[in-house]
Symmetry: C2
Subunit: 125 residues, 2 copies
DNA sequence: CAACCGTATGCCGATATGGTTATACCGTAC
DNA sequence: GTACGGTATAACCATATCGGCATACGGTTG
């Protein structure tokens, strides 16, 4: 259960990553590089939801949503479980949230920095 | 200078991120969602490099590389510094490496998992 | 069985993106 | 000043992606 894990992994050696590995990693990042998909992940933070529930929660069209879910699933960010006629999607694990938090941290810093540049001597506005 | 920082930030509140925020975060992830750009970041791990040096290091075309660098710079992942006729690019900070490490960790786990599914009872092949 | 509901998929148009070529920009050196 | 090297930008093409519509698939209910 520990989220404490070594940062260096077996197939992820430090030396010159192969083009295939770069492609795989890039594909993962690209799966997160879409506002709609980030919104889906956010909606799933509170627990699993069916496609219909996600339609209501995110405002996306059903077909569109289904395709985004497919991509998130292929990238390993969400799991799918049949429940009767429904299909529940859930966050595969919490690491994706960690990724988003890190990215948001960067964003905050940059926004603060650009704010400081835009108005170096003003108070807040 | 500390890389130790709280995970929750001012403008990154937990409640229903605005579409603008989702777009900003997605843009950051998308900047990493390209093998060529990941290769550039990897090349910069050992220190700053000029565009010409990066051309040699990555094998990308000069114009193409310049555009990728522009995107990485806009996303805040690299810094640019003029040095005579050259322009040196460098990793803006180490957090981007942390992001890649996290993503590679996920990837490793998933590859191991799929390997286990493909050959549940075989030794290694 | 048929009817129905939830989900996935195929097709389409609009738009975005990556890569190449040619060229403009900006320093430096002569 | 001109000539030249390094970098950025513009124009272009090919391809990928998103979103919507229609429809097919799968499971449930009667």
């Amino acid at each position: 259960m520990s989220t404490r894990r070594p940062v260096r992994h077996a197939t992820t050696a430090r030396r010159t990553p192969t083009p295939e590995l770069l492609g795989l990693v890039a594909g993962r990042f690209r799966a997160l590089g879409e506002p709609a998909r980030l919104g889906i992940l956010h909606a799933l933070e509170d627990g699993p939801l069916s496609v219909t529930a996600l339609v209501a929660r995110t405002g996306l069209g059903q077909a569109n949503l289904s395709k985004h879910l497919q991509q998130l699933h292929s990238a390993g960010f969400v799991s799918r479980t049949r429940r009767g006629m429904f299909v529940d999607y859930a966050l595969a694990d919490e690491r994706v949230l960690h990724l988003c938090e890190l990215m948001c941290g960067r964003l905050d810093d940059d926004l603060a920095a650009s704010r400081a540049v835009m108005a170096p001597q003003r108070r807040s506005a």
